[in-house]
Structure formats: C-alpha cells, structure tokens
Amino acid sequence: MDVTAGWYLALGAVLFVIGASGMLLRRNALVMFMSIELMLNAVNLTFVAIGRHTGDLNGQVAVFFVMVVAAAEVVVGLAIMIAVFRRRSSASVDDLAVLNG
C-alpha cells in the first residue's frame, strides 16, 4: 500500500481536531497550551505533505516560520502563566473567573 500525501493530510486533520478538542475540553492552562502546540504541529505536517506532493518549496519553508513563531509564543505564554501562578498557585483556568458578565 502506498502512503500518499492524502494519508498525511488525514493524519494532520486528525491531530488538529485532537488539539482543538483538548483546547476546548481541558481546564489546565498548560495542557491547553500544549493542545495549541499540537494544532500547530498538525498544520506543519499538512504544510510539508503538500509541499512534498506539489514539489513547492514554500510549504517546507513555511514550517520553519511556524516553529519559530510557536517558540516565541511559548516564551510569552509561559511568562504570563508564571505571573498568574505566583498569585494563585494554580494553573487551572476555572480559577480565572473574576471578569465576567
């Protein structure tokens, strides 16, 4: 059986949905953030699969940009979470419910 680009796209879609569900269902800010990383990696897989299939380098290069941006996001995100954690000693987003209405 040949493993064609379609398989990779399907795997990417599945990973993306798993990430999105994790983001929506989990309540720990760190786990939610890990889910977002999973979504970004699903996108990366999709990009390389298409790039390989069409022979277009743009798809491969896009992945580097996504990885770098994801790293920058991690830096800011963890800093924000540490600022919250210092005040509350908890990373659960359910505790962050002062602002509502």
Binding site: A42, V43, N58, V66, V69, E73, A83, R87
Partner: protein, 482 residues
C-alpha cells in the same frame, strides 16, 4: 532582481528603529520618560512621513515587493498612514499610564511600537506566511500589553485569556492557510487568486474549508461574534490607558488583512464566502448590542459595542471589492472613536484601573464638562446620530450591503443600531441628567495636556468626517488593494 525597495518597508523600519532606540537609551542612560516619549514620537513621525511617501509612490504604480511578500499599493500605504496616526494618539492617551510605570516605561512604549509594526505589515502582507508573521508580531505584543500590570489580578486574567484564545485563533487561521495551500498550490495571496481565476476546481471542499477557517481565525482577532468571548474580559482587565489601543489597532489591522485576503485571493469565490461573512456580521451586531445593554461597567459595555461595530464593518465586506472603501471609512473613524472613549474612561477610572462602573459617570458633566462633552460626542457617533462620522459610516456600509443583495442583513443591522442607542444614550443621560450620588461619582477628573490633545484630535476627526466626509471618501475609494 537584486534591488531592495526600502520604501515598501519604510514605516516598519522607522518604528523598529524607534523600538531599538527606546530600549537601548533606557538601559544606557536611564533618561526621563519624556525623552523616551520623544524618541517614540520621532519614529512615529518618520513612519507617518514614509507612509505618505508610499501613498504618493503607490497610487501611480502599485507593485508587489520582496519577491511577493509585501504589497506596495494604496491599500497598504493608507493602512500604514492610519496606523501611525492611531499609534501617536494612543501613546498620548496612554501617557499617564506610561509615566507611572517608572523604569518599565521603555518596555511599554516598545511594545506599543512593536505591535504597530505588526499591524502595518498585516495591512501590506501579500503572502500568507508574511501575514501570519505580522499577525503574531501584533498579537504577542498585545498579549504582553494586556497583562502589563503584573501585580493586578484582573490584568493577569485578561492576559491568560487573551493569550490562550488568541493562540488558538492563530492555529485555526494557519490551518486555513494550509488547506487553501492544498487547494491552490500557492502561499501567495495573488498566486492563489491567479490559480483560482485560471482553473475550475472540480472539488472545492478543501478550499472552502480553508477559507472558512481563515475567516474564523481573523474574526477571532477582530472580535466578531461568535468568536468574541475573550474581548470583554481582555478590554476590561487591561489597564484603561491601553485598552483603547488594543481595540482600535486590532480592528484596523484585522479588517485590513481580512479585506485583502477576501477580495484578492478569494475574490472569484465571493458567492461562497460572502454569505458566511454576512451570518457572522448579523450574529455580531445582535449579540454585541444585546449584551452591551446588560452591562454595568463602561469598559465591558464598550467591548460589547465593539463587537457590534465589528458586525457593522463586516456588513460592508459582503459587497466584496465595492465595499472595501466603506469598510475603511468605518474602521478608521470607529478606531479613533473607541480610542477616545477609552481615553475618557482612563481619566475617570484611573489610567491603571481595570474596573469602571457606570455609576462613576453620574453627574460627570458638572465635575468635568470637557470629559463629559467628549464622551457624549463619541457616544452619539457610535450610536449613529447624524452629523457624526458614525452615522455616515453605518449609512455607507448599509448601502453597499443592499446593493450586494443582503437586504435582510441591513434590516438586522438597522434594528440593532436603534436598539444600541439605548445604551449609548444611557451614558449621556447619566452624565448630564443624574445628580452626583453620595457614594458614586468619585472618579478623577483632571485632564493632562497629552490627553487633551488626543481628545481634541478624536473629536475633530469624528465631527469633521461626519459633516464633510468628502476628503476621506476620496482617499478611501482609491485605497484599494492591488
């Protein structure tokens, strides 16, 4: 081609230099905060001048620069003119907040300028990867700005919510890009358009899913319902001095990006995406208006009203390329109005404050006629009373939507804007007709010089373009993407 068009990135270079200088001067000399402000002002001025130069150059000869990465067209130049002015007014509004930051003032100014560079690039991006980078530069700076007051629990909460939902939106946007790339084989906005113009897709499922996810991702960023849940919390939890900039800047840049992607890349598929945009627009105006009525905190009220305004702006976008000038007209005038409204809030509830109950505004007209007058004008304009820019912008987008055949959307919009008058006028009644209560109405009312300048600028823009819209209309009708 080896020559580099520095003009295409002129404003970005000016602002980035400003960021670097502000930070270097801060660590080297530890100067008074006024000096940092002067550097920021200079870089914004240079950015503005270069944006005008771009406009002059691009209106004759629009072109894509940097191997398909950045457009040097009237659309990008106009976006960059607007954003540099908006940035300058925003810094004036945030000035009291910057002063009380002490040694962290430089970081604050640097973050505002950095997010502006991202916004300018969003308006000019001609390639999806460029657009993604610009979006992230903007968003990451704004996440930090939202939580800049580290010791304030509200700001912490706002920052976490903004960060998690914003990153989620970015990932959704990016998957949309990937799916659209799968369908068209090009990551360039114009390459995709070319492919779609020349080929008839047998199976457009991947493309439509891609466009859908792209629109959802950008709708998150401009806080259109049903992707708006973060907006009220973030705009309330951020310090009052900077909420206005976050609202206004994100709207201008987000709508610029959305408009360019929708009308250039997916122009041939307008009959597929326009109904989706119309539905988002309708939900936004209804949800924004209904929930704004229920608010007792003016920052939350303004946040919900900004959701409703996002819906009105999307109403103009359903007309495709014909609606783009009026999307510009609306988003530009609205950006300054919302900046001004938050400026008044930042005086009454303190520049670093996060809560701003409506009761603070009771009898404000007696204590601070200037503040009350400005806020009343802005409320009239946002509510859409004639002789203000807010009225004309609503009129234009409604006209475009009717021409495009979306009468139902205009009916929804018109009903919502009448209902919206309730909460805008409530603020005015509270300020002018309610006596100051014993425990309420404690807010600060002193207006510093920077704020006075900012409020005057906002009031002039709101009134001038409401009475004489001609000049701005001339400009926006030529500010079209390549």
């Amino acid at each position: 081609m080896t020559e580099i068009s520095y003009l295409a990135i002129g404003p970005v270079i000016a602002l980035t230099l400003g960021v670097v200088l502000v930070l270097l001067v801060e660590v080297t000399y530890k100067p008074k905060v006024t000096w940092l402000g002067a550097i920021a002002a200079l870089s914004l001025l240079a950015g503005f001048a270069l944006s005008v130069a771009q406009w002059i150059e691009a209106s004759d000869d629009p072109i894509i620069r940097f191997r398909g990465m950045l457009a040097l067209d009237p659309f990008a130049a106009f976006g960059s003119v607007v954003l540099t002015v908006l940035g300058a007014v925003a810094l004036l509004v945030a000035w009291p907040l910057i002063v009380i930051q002490g040694r962290r003032a430089a970081e604050f100014i640097a973050l505002v300028l950095l997010s502006l560079t991202g916004m300018i690039l969003m308006a000019g991006a001609a390639h999806f990867i460029m657009l993604f980078l610009a979006l992230e530069v903007t968003s990451i700076s704004l996440y930090v700005l939202a939580g800049f007051a580290r010791d304030n629990a509200d700001s912490n909460e706002a920052s976490v919510k903004y960060f998690l939902l914003g990153s989620f939106a970015s990932a959704v946007f990016l998957y949309g890009v990937a799916l659209s790339y799968a369908a068209t084989g090009s990551l360039s906005l114009y390459g995709a358009a070319e492919f779609l113009n020349e080929n008839l897709l047998l199976d457009s499922a991947s493309l439509l899913a891609g466009i859908g996810l792209l629109i959802v991702g950008l709708a998150f960023k401009v806080s259109a319902a049903p992707f708006h849940m973060w907006a009220p919390d973030v705009y309330q939890g951020a310090a009052s001095g900077v909420s206005g900039f976050m609202t206004a800047g994100a709207k201008v840049a987000g709508f610029a990006a959305l408009a360019r992607v929708a009308v250039t890349s997916y122009g041939p598929y307008i009959s597929d995406w326009a109904p989706a945009v119309a539905v988002i627009a309708a939900i936004s105006v209804v949800v924004g208006t209904m929930l704004a009525i229920a608010q007792s905190d003016i920052k939350r009220m303004l946040a919900y009203s900004s959701i409703a305004h996002a819906g009105f702006i999307l109403t103009g976008l359903v007309a495709g390329i014909d609606g783009v000038p009026y999307v510009w007209f609306y988003v530009v005038t609205y950006a300054f109005q919302v900046l001004g409204a938050f400026a008044v809030v930042s005086v009454v509830s303190g520049p670093a404050g996060t809560r701003s109950p409506l009761t603070d505004y009771a009898g404000l007209a007696q204590r601070a006629p200037v503040l009350a007058g400005s806020l009343a004008l802005l409320m009239f304009s946002m509510g859409g009373i004639p002789l203000t820019a807010g009225f004309l912008s609503k009129l234009y987008v409604f006209r475009e939507a009717v021409d495009a055949g979306y009468l139902w959307l205009v009916v929804v919009g018109a009903v919502a804007s009448v209902a919206g008058l309730f909460f805008y006028l409530r603020v005015i009644v509270l300020m002018y007709m309610n006596p100051q209560s014993e425990e309420g109405g404690v807010g600060e009312t002193r207006v510093g010089d920077p704020l006075r300048v900012a409020l005057t600028a906002v009031a002039v823009i709101t009134l001038a373009f409401g009475i004489v819209p001609g000049p701005l209309l001339d400009v926006v009708t030529s500010a079209l993407p390549l």
